[in-house]
Symmetry: C2
Subunit: 216 residues, 2 copies
């Protein structure tokens, strides 16, 4: 009877059960196929069958972790965009901040993205659908910016993938004790993403939405 989440906050890594947390750490460290259920159990301090009491099998551990990770980042990204108003530049900035926050605050879950190859076809399908949602949000924002003249990239697809690859990359180099804070990294990447989009003017103080993003 120890299989409760340690915290009930809204932090998706904090509210993992001990088993899921141990599985996450092992998967991040050694990869899905490089991890044995025995090492997960040992990390939790239980025997192997205890894992199978709470989860169907090893694959279900990975699927659940990835489901949670994707659900959180999709929700945060969509909410951030919705709260940012109608201006494409602001929406893009908000989404980038949300995604960078995910990469730095939930680095383990974010890094797990590299393990999606190990998903069974059914589980992979759900993952891809969630990932496509984020890609669609970004692509639509780019298109809207091109339509109103605030962005100028001629290659929406390449630009979308470039932004998301750049952001996903953060999960593989970010260190909590690095020189820049999460917020600094987020702001840098807002500007880098806007550069990729070919944003035409620095803060774009249009009459409808002045005083929003602030440039350093």
């Amino acid at each position: 009877m120890a299989e409760q989440p340690i915290a009930a906050s809204s932090d998706p890594e904090a509210e993992l059960t001990p088993i899921l947390r141990a599985a996450l750490e092992e998967f991040v460290e050694h990869g899905y196929d490089g991890t044995s259920v025995r090492t997960i159990a040992a990390r939790v301090g239980v025997t192997v069958p205890a894992l199978y009491y709470h989860h169907e099998n090893k694959q279900a551990l990975l699927a659940e972790l990835l489901d949670r990770a994707m659900a959180v980042v999709v929700r945060h990204t969509a909410e951030a965009e919705a709260a940012a108003g109608p201006v494409p530049r602001d929406r893009m900035a908000a989404m980038v901040r949300a995604i960078v926050g995910h990469m730095t605050n939930h680095q383990g879950l974010a890094f797990l993205d590299a393990e999606t190859r190990a998903l069974t076809p059914d589980n992979r399908k759900r993952y891809v659908a969630q990932r496509d949602q984020i890609e669609d949000l970004m692509r639509s924002c780019l298109r809207d910016g091109l339509a109103d003249g605030s962005f100028s990239t001629p290659w929406v697809g390449d630009c979308t993938r470039a932004i998301l690859s750049m952001l996903q990359g953060i999960a593989s180099w970010y260190r909590e004790d690095g020189p820049d804070s999460r917020e600094e990294i987020a702001e840098h990447h807002v500007q880098l993403a806007l550069a990729l989009a070919g944003a035409v003017r620095p803060p774009a103080p249009t009459p409808t939405a002045a005083r929003r993003t602030r440039r350093r």
Copy 2:
């Protein structure tokens, strides 16, 4: 006696022996830990000990593949930059073209980058050293461009990583039968990289080096 490279061209994937080629394909498809030496042997059409006659062990297969991959991309990138003259914008464009060419022409080897986690510490050290070389080339180019005013990014480190993440990402989505040719993708990413660097003027026809890169 079938363990010769199929072709002796300068294409690093074509000049792989059948065993290394099979190992590459399996590693790309299932990951290092998800691949067994038996499936590699079966793919070549030999028995398992034949693998061990030509290679020390499974780890040596991965190490050799990654060594070749990194040696080639480092060499091509350095040569491309050297041949591009002194102008940072031209050097950056040349390096991006070289790296994109690597990602699209040797997608398997490029994708193997994701398996570096499975390297033993010694082998990983050699890999990291090679990867750092590319990062240093890119960073130096950025710095030179900032010094002469042709680039303007305030964050050299983040910008370097962003460019390389963006380019590495190509290996995970590029398809030979996709809508854009390798050359088109390369030119798009040259412009995207220059945008990340904050390149100040489109083709920058300075008096010393006009008539070089051509904008679409």
